[in-house]
Symmetry: C2
Subunit: 339 residues, 2 copies
C-alpha cells in the first residue's frame, strides 16, 4: 500500500526545502512567507514559483531577488497567459496606438465579504498580510499595467482603510499616475463594490483601446492626433477613425500554463512568461499608492524602499486592530472572478 | 422697406440694456462679460438668459446672483434637456441606485485644434477667458454632475496647462472627489484627445449605472450590496443583478428648449429648467480643481471664493503669455459634439 500513499507531507517549509526530495517549490502561503520561504528555497538551490505578490514591500522584493543564483524563479502572474492582455500589450508595444497619452483602469469587481476577511487571522492586517486590495487582489492588474504600458514615474493615491469592511488595511483606492513621457493615468479599485467594473482604457496618439466585458475595441485614428491638432485649419475638427473589434478566443492557460511554463523552463530552458524579478514592479506600485495615501503627498518612482518599509513597520507596531473570531467561510472560487 | 430691416443693432451692451426696447437679453459674450453685462441687465430690470459659465469664478457668481431682483434669470445648461440625463438623475434622486458609493466621468471628447484656440484673442487666457477646458467645455458636464449626484465636499485635482496646445490655461484635468457621505469620484477631461471618451459611471448600494455611446445600462442588484457584504457566509459572493438597458429617445430640445423655457417663464411663470443661480456650482467645481492644482493640495467645498479670486488675479497679473496672431478658423459646429 505504501506506493499509493501519495506525496510525503512536511509540517515546516525548512524541512521540505532541506529534504533532498524536491527540485522545486511553489510558494502559496500568506504573503510575508513568499519572501522568507522564497529566500530559503533559493539559497538552498531550489527552483521557485511564488504566488503573487512576490513580497509585501519593495525592500523584501530586493532581498528575495538577490537570493536567486541561476535557478528558475517565476511568479504566478497567470493573467499574463490571457491572450486578451497579450494582444493589448502587443498593440501598445509595437506602436500601433502611437505614443501613450492617457490610461485608466477601473477594476472594482474584486467584491469580498466580511466572511472572506474573517476567514483567516492573517488576512487584511498590516502584520499578517501587509496590505489589502492592492496587495492581495490587484497584483495581477498592477503587473499587467506595467507589463503593457510601463511604470509611471509618479503616483498620487487616495486610499480608504476599512471603508467597507471591519479591517485595518485599504479596501478602496483611487490613484493618479504620471508617466515618464508626460502621459497620465487613473487606477480605481475596491473590494466593496458589486457588480463592479473591469474597464481598461489606453489612449495614444493614434487612437484609443478599450478592454471591457471581454471585448477589445480599438478606435484607430487615420492620422496622428497631434498632427491634426497642430495643422488642421478647422476649429472643431474630428479625427477619422477605424473602429476595430479585435477578436480573441478564450482566456489562456492561466495557473496551469504558468506551472507548465515553470517546469518547461527548468527542464528545457523555455523562456519564462512571468520571471519573478518582474514582480517587484507591481509591489512597488502598490507600495507607492499606500505611501502616497499615508503621507498625503505624491510618491516618486523608483520608490524609496527603506522609507516604505519603515512606514509599514510603524503601522504594524501601532496596530490596535483586533480581528473578530476567525470563522471558516464557504469558499466557491468560481465567484472569485467576474468572468 | 423699413418693416423688413430686421432687429435694431447696438454696438454696446449698455445701450441695448437702456434702450427701452427689450425686456430680456441672452448673453453670449466672452466669459467675463456674463458677469458684468448680466449685472447691468439685472440691475436695469431685464430678464436674463446667460451662456455658461455664469461667471468665471465663484465671487463673480455671487455678485451676479445678488443682482437678481425677481426677474427670470436662467443659464444655458442645454444638456439638462437631454432625456438621458433627466432619466439618470431621476434614477439617482429617487433612490433606485441606493446610496452613492462611487462615480467616474471620463469626458475627453472635447477635441480642439490649435486653430480653435488661435481663433480668438480672449480664448484660453487667464485674463480673457479665465480658464480652459474646465471653464469653456466642461461647465455642461460639471453642471450635470452636481445636478445628478450633488456636490462633492473635497476636490483634489491635477491639471496640465498648455499640454497639448500653445495656451496658458488647462487643457488636461484629472480630479478626485470626496462626497459628503464618503463616496468618491473621478473626473477626467481634455481637449487634446481624439476620438475621446464620454463615459459616466455611477455606483450605489443597489447597483451600477453606466452612460456611454448613447446607452444607459443599469445593473441593478437584487439586494443591498452592503447587506450581502455583511451577512453572506460566502467568502467569494456574487450579487445577483438585473441587467437593464434603459431606452431613451433623442437628446431633447437643447438650446432651443432652454430659450423657449426662458420665454415661458417670463410670460407664464413656468419653472426654469436651469435657473442661473444653480450655475454657481459648476463654476465652484471648476475653480476648486484649478485651485487644487495651483496649490498642490485638496480644496474643501464650499470654496473660499476670495482666495480663489486672488489666485486667479495673480495669474492674470503675471501672465507673460503672447497669443500667436489671431486667425479666423473654419468653424463647423457639427463637429463640436461627439454625437
Amino acid at each position: 500500500m505504501d506506493a499509493f500513499q501519495g506525496p510525503k507531507r512536511f509540517e515546516k517549509s525548512e524541512d521540505l526545502i532541506r529534504s533532498g526530495e524536491v527540485d522545486a517549490v511553489l510558494i502559496a502561503t500568506p504573503h510575508y512567507g513568499h519572501t522568507t520561504i522564497g529566500i530559503d528555497a533559493l539559497q538552498n538551490g531550489l527552483h521557485v514559483l511564488t504566488e503573487k505578490p512576490i513580497s509585501v514591500h519593495k525592500a523584501d522584493c530586493e532581498r528575495l531577488i538577490a537570493a536567486q543564483k541561476g535557478q528558475t524563479f517565476a511568479a504566478m502572474f497567470n493573467q499574463r497567459t490571457d491572450p486578451h492582455f497579450q494582444r493589448i500589450r502587443r498593440i501598445v508595444r509595437e506602436g500601433e496606438l502611437g505614443e501613450l497619452k492617457r490610461m485608466s483602469w477601473i477594476v472594482t469587481n474584486w467584491f469580498r465579504t466580511e466572511a472572506y476577511y474573517a476567514s483567516g487571522g492573517w488576512r487584511a492586517t498590516w502584520k499578517g498580510e501587509g496590505g489589502g486590495v492592492l496587495l492581495n487582489q490587484c497584483p495581477h492588474n498592477l503587473d499587467l499595467l506595467q507589463w503593457i504600458v510601463g511604470m509611471p514615474s509618479r503616483v498620487t493615491a487616495h486610499c480608504g482603510f476599512g471603508v467597507y469592511h471591519d479591517i485595518e488595511v485599504e479596501d478602496r483606492v483611487t490613484a493618479y499616475f504620471e508617466f515618464p513621457n508626460g502621459a497620465t493615468g487613473v487606477f480605481v479599485t475596491t473590494t466593496g463594490e458589486a457588480p463592479g467594473t473591469d474597464r481598461l482604457e489606453i489612449v495614444g496618439d493614434r487612437g484609443k483601446l478599450v478592454y471591457e466585458s471581454g471585448r477589445i475595441l480599438f478606435q484607430r485614428t487615420e492620422q496622428s492626433v497631434t498632427r491634426v491638432l497642430e495643422n488642421s485649419p478647422e476649429a472643431f475638427a474630428s479625427v477619422d477613425t477605424w473602429d476595430c473589434e479585435i477578436p480573441v478566443q478564450g482566456h489562456g492557460g492561466q495557473h496551469l500554463a504558468i506551472v507548465q511554463n515553470f517546469v518547461d523552463s527548468i527542464l528545457d530552458g523555455t523562456e519564462l512568461i512571468a520571471p519573478a524579478p518582474e514582480g517587484i514592479h507591481s509591489v512597488e506600485l502598490a507600495n507607492s499608492m499606500l505611501m502616497s495615501a499615508w503621507t498625503n503627498a505624491p510618491v516618486d518612482i523608483p520608490l524609496d524602499a527603506k522609507r516604505y518599509e519603515a512606514l509599514l513597520q510603524e503601522r504594524i507596531a501601532s496596530s490596535r486592530f483586533q480581528k473578530r473570531a476567525v470563522k471558516e467561510a464557504k469558499v466557491d472560487m468560481e465567484k472569485s472572478f467576474a468572468r
